[in-house]
Symmetry: C2
Subunit: 293 residues, 2 copies
């Protein structure tokens, strides 16, 4: 039986029923499925995994140049003050972008002047050693097992699955094949501009895409040239992607403090729309027999 980590019940049945109808009526090239990453495919609490990567990177910069510690975001990075970073994101969702802009400058400058290959090597080194701060497992084991099964189930039924995340494209790509079986050409994310220099592509400090909210459907079209028929997300940043999708809309609800985390912050509006518009909600507590591999 497919989807072994999904509890038998209405959520699993809704997925299986939709896929069954699809296979009968929709040609394979139109079976496009899109998945958010943070909070949908992997754990995003207590902080985005990419934030841990960036904080470690900034802390290393401070170690090389201690004067940096006199200003944010380096002060927080050097002190391991993850709360400052989390607050910057929370403020952003409440309409105050001041700290997020300070953070963005740090992130962008930290990323500058690396070839894409050098950047990928740094990301791979991070995933080879970094572990989740409270779950007691490597980040590479922090993907949700039921969602990985869902990717395979859809593919087994002729779907093509894409990751469409607010996270960094070049942060995700080195690990998505191993964690999710999704190759780099099907990973869409936020990015900085790249400059062509001596035959290589080198990262700049220019933001290119912040792949969130209404940017997600525009980039799905830009990448795929088709409207998805299946979408999965978990937060307010996924609303437009779910609304753009003409078919099955899945929202992962983080309601299991024992096995993962319990939170609705940043997902209030999405949960409201799910209830109003009949999107399917996957409760981690009730719909997943296992959370992690």
């Amino acid at each position: 039986m497919s989807l072994p980590s999904w509890t038998d019940g209405p959520t699993k049945s809704a997925i299986v029923d939709f896929v069954g109808r699809t296979v009968d009526h929709i040609p394979p090239e139109e079976r496009v499925a899109v998945f958010d990453n943070d909070g949908t495919l992997w754990c995003e609490k207590p902080a985005y995994i990419q934030l841990d990567f960036l904080v470690r990177w900034m802390a290393a910069q401070v170690a090389a140049d201690p004067a940096l510690a006199q200003r944010q975001p380096y002060t927080a990075a050097a002190a391991g003050d993850l709360a400052w970073f989390g607050d910057a994101v929370t403020k952003h969702y409440n309409g105050d972008d001041s700290d997020l802009k300070v953070l963005a400058v740090g992130i962008l400058s930290a990323n500058t002047a690396l070839t894409t290959e050098e950047h990928a090597a740094r990301v791979s080194a991070f995933f080879a050693e970094a572990s989740h701060p409270t779950l007691g497992r490597p980040y590479t084991s922090c993907g949700y097992q039921p969602m990985v099964e869902l990717l395979r189930y859809l593919e087994d039924n002729g779907f093509t699955c894409y990751i469409v995340s607010g996270g960094g494209r070049d942060f995700m790509r080195p690990i998505t094949e191993a964690m999710y079986g999704i190759p780099p050409e099907r990973v869409v994310g936020s990015s900085v501009g790249l400059e062509f220099r001596d035959g290589n592509l080198v990262t700049t400090a220019q933001p290119e895409f912040l792949n969130d909210g209404p940017v997600k459907p525009a980039r799905i079209w830009g990448r795929v040239g088709r409207r998805p028929i299946f979408a999965a997300g978990n937060s307010n940043g996924d609303i437009e992607m779910l609304q753009y999708t003409n078919g099955f809309r899945l929202l992962v609800a983080h309601d299991d403090a024992d096995r993962e985390f319990h939170y609705t912050a940043g997902a209030e509006k999405a949960l409201g729309l799910a209830a109003a518009d009949g999107w399917t909600v996957a409760s981690i507590k009730h719909d997943w027999t296992h959370v992690f591999p």
Copy 2:
């Protein structure tokens, strides 16, 4: 035998030898091939096909609002003065962007406020009726038969082929499957920004990408996340894409006034680099037994 429209000789042998070595040594996921479109996959003379599309569109706007004819590019569009448009592009390649900017404003405003579906329908209607002004064949038969055979030959050997063109992404996509067997998700081109409105994506007048020169390798990385091992182009705008490619570099030389067109304008630097760096040059006159289907 593969590549039937290619003359037996050193160019064809170079392609076949490269592909043979590749299949032995390079895993399929790394067999990425990228193709320019205008002048590489389809005829770009006497004017870009997309320019004909835009001129017809602007002429229709003038018919609806005659006052538009008092300014460029509408004056030229209403008069069917294709030379003005060609000159704007030539001036651009000579460092004078003044007319191209006037043209761009016309193009962008002509494209504004359509859903992606409406835009695709207009493009499809154009290709259903428009013919090449001198070759006496529909534009849909102006793709180069040897290059279509090359796409299939590479795919038969495990390659994944992408179109990476300075032409408009949403102008090419409605026709690339029929003309080249390339689906929309493997078409990368220039684009305007899209706005998410009432569940649809609507074109804006904001330029997003001019997919030419050094932008091509950056967008190949953005789309594919891998460096190509095969690239084909024909003009100076393809130089960086060819330099980024680690493998086979093919330049189509337009040297056949009888069967197609004879020109080197806009390709001088690329032809020089081909000679200096050992890129393979495909002479239309000598290497192709047939040009069009």
